[in-house]
């Protein structure tokens, strides 16, 4: 299929999952005839009916809890949170129940459910619509957390998440919903725990995920024109981290920069840096750099580009590792 946007790829994955498994259901605010505020569920209610795809009242805690209850009843719920910050009301249900229910039932009950959360900034939005909540979820044991960076990955990862027997937080880089790619569908589900080298290089590794992968690739291109060869690794899975793939790349390049939109402080970069610098202490030529937001609430949109990673800031960080 040609020119498929990331949003459309997600829509196709939901469609194929709803079609191939009658136990898959999809719900959330405005996912019905509106098709969601980003149109990811466009046309699904019409095709599959109101018991497969349905609107809920405005209550994220109970959207999550509904997923728990329906999963227990043998459905495979896919719940949508409308925006990153609006997933916070569900925090207790996700952390204290969804992440712990398998344990709590001695393994008897699977939490085969997906919570989709559009996240990230760069869309010129008002407050609360641009957050990067991955730290909150990745730190919570009992959850799997993934995020795609391309339409093809979006399709494959979402299928993989729906088929996985465990609860998956599926973070959708909302600024990339409109990114286009030719993709083959139907395609098999992708594994949930694998990072991918999306560009090979020699001089340093850029580690990115979700919205920042394209930014990292742009930086790598720009770097190339300036004579720097940058490898780019797309995490795809934020929890667990695929440290083997990361370590293999950094073992080769001996320098790295981690790039995300979330504040650097306690961002995912902290864990990646801590592990890589620990495991590759003797291999690294320079300390690993992190590029992310400052320790501030997400700024007014007029200023967001000044705080989000861009190719220049990434290349400056690369320079720091190379000039070390």
């Amino acid at each position: 299929m040609t020119g498929v946007t990331l949003g459309k790829a997600l829509n196709l994955a939901l469609h194929d999952a709803l079609q191939s498994d009658s136990r898959v259901v999809m719900f959330g605010e405005d996912v019905g005839n509106l098709g969601g505020v980003f149109r990811v569920t466009d046309g699904l209610q019409e095709e599959f009916g109101r018991e497969r795809v349905f609107n809920t009242p405005l209550a994220e805690a109970t959207i999550a809890a509904l997923a728990l209850g329906m999963a227990m009843k043998g459905f495979r719920p896919v719940a949508e949170m409308q925006f990153d910050a609006f997933s916070y009301p569900s925090f207790q249900q996700v952390t204290s129940n969804i992440a712990k229910y398998h344990t709590r039932t001695g393994g008897a009950v699977n939490m085969q459910l997906v919570i989709r959360i559009p996240y990230g900034g760069n869309i010129g939005a008002i407050e609360q619509h641009s957050e990067s909540p991955e730290t909150y979820y990745a730190h919570t044991a009992g959850l799997k957390v993934v995020t795609p960076s391309t339409p093809a990955d979006a399709y494959g990862l979402l299928l993989g998440a729906i088929k996985d027997p465990d609860p998956v937080i599926f973070l959708e880089p909302k600024a990339r919903y409109w990114m286009r790619q030719d993709i083959d569908i139907p395609a098999p589900p992708l594994p949930l725990d694998r990072a991918q080298v999306v560009r090979e290089g020699r001089d340093a590794t850029l580690i990115a995920y979700g919205p920042t992968v394209q930014t990292a690739l742009l930086a790598a291109e720009q770097g190339e024109s300036e004579g720097v060869s940058l490898e780019v690794v797309d995490l795809r899975s934020l929890s667990p981290l695929d440290m083997d793939t990361l370590a293999a790349s950094v073992r080769k390049t001996r320098r790295a920069v981690v790039v995300h939109e979330a504040p650097v402080f306690m961002g995912l970069g902290a864990e990646i840096v801590a592990q890589l610098m620990h495991d590759l202490f003797d291999v690294l030529e320079a300390p690993i750099e992190r590029v992310g937001n400052a320790t501030i609430p997400y700024p007014p949109s007029r200023f967001e580009k000044l705080f989000l990673p861009d190719a220049d800031r990434i290349l400056e960080a690369v320079d720091r590792t190379r000039e070390y």
Partner: protein, 370 residues
């Protein structure tokens, strides 16, 4: 039923039904209540005036968004009676905790509308000092401002003030846990709060029947305080009922829930496409002049012989002027320095944040960005 089991005496709906009895089965002020309310012609004209101005500002907001001057606009046409009626019903010493759509309330409180718009232009997250206007910031996470108002009102009570607190929210907000917790706290603490539900029958694309089980107004009884459902297109009713509710609260009789029923005539926001979920026919019952807050108010004024062309033209002209002043203020608004973002995080910022700020500033200077 089961009254004998009732282990603690508490106010129940019916104990004080004076507020509920202000309106008839259609949610309109009864003739008797209208007489008692004694709203003067001048007051009614003031309500009319503010509704006309606010509708014009709403239109201008939409224009500005279409012209690329705003990132987003959330129209409130259809809400004029609720917002203007409620805001003007409160004393200037009272407080208002708005939700994101309560633009007209902010205008009634005297906040410069051009400044408010800087929020929707992406320049700031908040454009006024709440203490200056006794008007809290717009809150985006639905329902979360409701318990803020309760906390503030508990404070007013502990300070033995004669202050009432109005909190605005949509019918979708009543689905949130925060709303319920706030209702219960207000009842337990007998906080002086007026809960104003602006039931416009849609939460983005979700119609009220997919949103709410039962009726919102009926929930007040479950918290032991009065609830009243008013026709949200009649400003006189909203004004009189909210004024009575605020008085009730101020006098220490506890909270009141007012459900104002009207209709969201426009898209949820300019990002929304309502053609995907409702038809023109859905709107038809709400488009007539009998449902238009401004027309209805004009009609009431005419019945009082308090409306004439001179008045109407003067108001319309003032609305024009204020709309163009709003536009001018907006486009002239200078964005704050980006570094100011760091200064607003804390009242007492840690050194590490100030270091981040300095690095940011020097990288801006180097990069020459913006």
């Amino acid at each position: 039923m089961a009254k004998a089991l009732h282990t603690h005496p508490q106010a129940r709906e019916g104990d004080d039904n004076s507020i509920g009895s202000l309106v008839d089965a259609h949610g309109l002020l009864t003739p008797e209540a209208e007489r008692d309310a004694a709203v003067s012609d001048d007051q009614l004209r003031e309500l009319y005036r503010m509704m006309v101005i606010c509708r014009r500002l709403d239109q201008e907001g939409l224009n500005l968004q279409r012209q690329g001057e705003l990132g987003l606009w959330g129209p409130y046409v259809g809400h004029e009676a609720a917002q203007v009626g409620a805001a003007l019903a409160m004393e200037s010493t009272d407080w208002i905790f708005p939700y994101y759509r309560d633009f007209a309330m902010a205008v009634c409180r005297g906040i410069d509308p051009g400044n408010i718009l800087t929020i929707f232009r992406g320049l700031t997250h908040g454009a006024w000092n709440p203490y200056e206007y006794r008007f809290a910031p717009f809150i985006i996470p639905v329902g979360t401002q409701v318990p803020h108002a309760v906390g503030f009102a508990v404070g007013c009570k502990f300070d033995h003030e004669q202050t009432a607190v109005l909190v605005g929210f949509g019918e979708g907000a009543t689905s949130t846990g925060d709303w319920h917790e706030a209702m219960n706290f207000a009842g337990v603490f007998q906080a002086p709060v007026v809960f104003l539900c602006e039931n416009n029958q849609w939460a983005i694309s979700v119609p009220v029947e997919e949103q709410i089980a039962g009726r919102i107004v009926d929930r007040a009884a479950g918290y032991g305080f009065p609830g009243v459902r008013v026709d949200g297109t009649d400003v006189l009713t909203v004004y009189a009922v909210v004024r009575a509710a605020a008085q009730h609260a101020r006098q220490g009789h506890g909270p009141v829930l007012v459900e104002s029923v009207a209709y969201r005539l426009q898209a949820h926001t300019t990002s929304d496409d309502p053609t995907r979920y409702r038809t023109d026919a859905d709107l038809d019952p709400w488009k007539g002049s009998d449902k238009d807050p401004i027309e209805r108010c004009a009609e009431r004024l005419r019945q009082r012989n308090a409306y004439d062309d001179t008045f109407a033209v003067a108001v319309a002209q003032e609305a024009e002027e204020r709309a163009s002043a709003m536009r001018q203020t907006l486009v002239a608004a200078r964005p704050p320095h980006p570094e100011s973002v760091f200064d607003l995080v804390f009242a007492n910022p840690p050194a590490s944040l100030m270091r981040e700020r300095d690095e940011f500033t020097s990288s801006l200077e180097q990069g020459g960005a913006e």
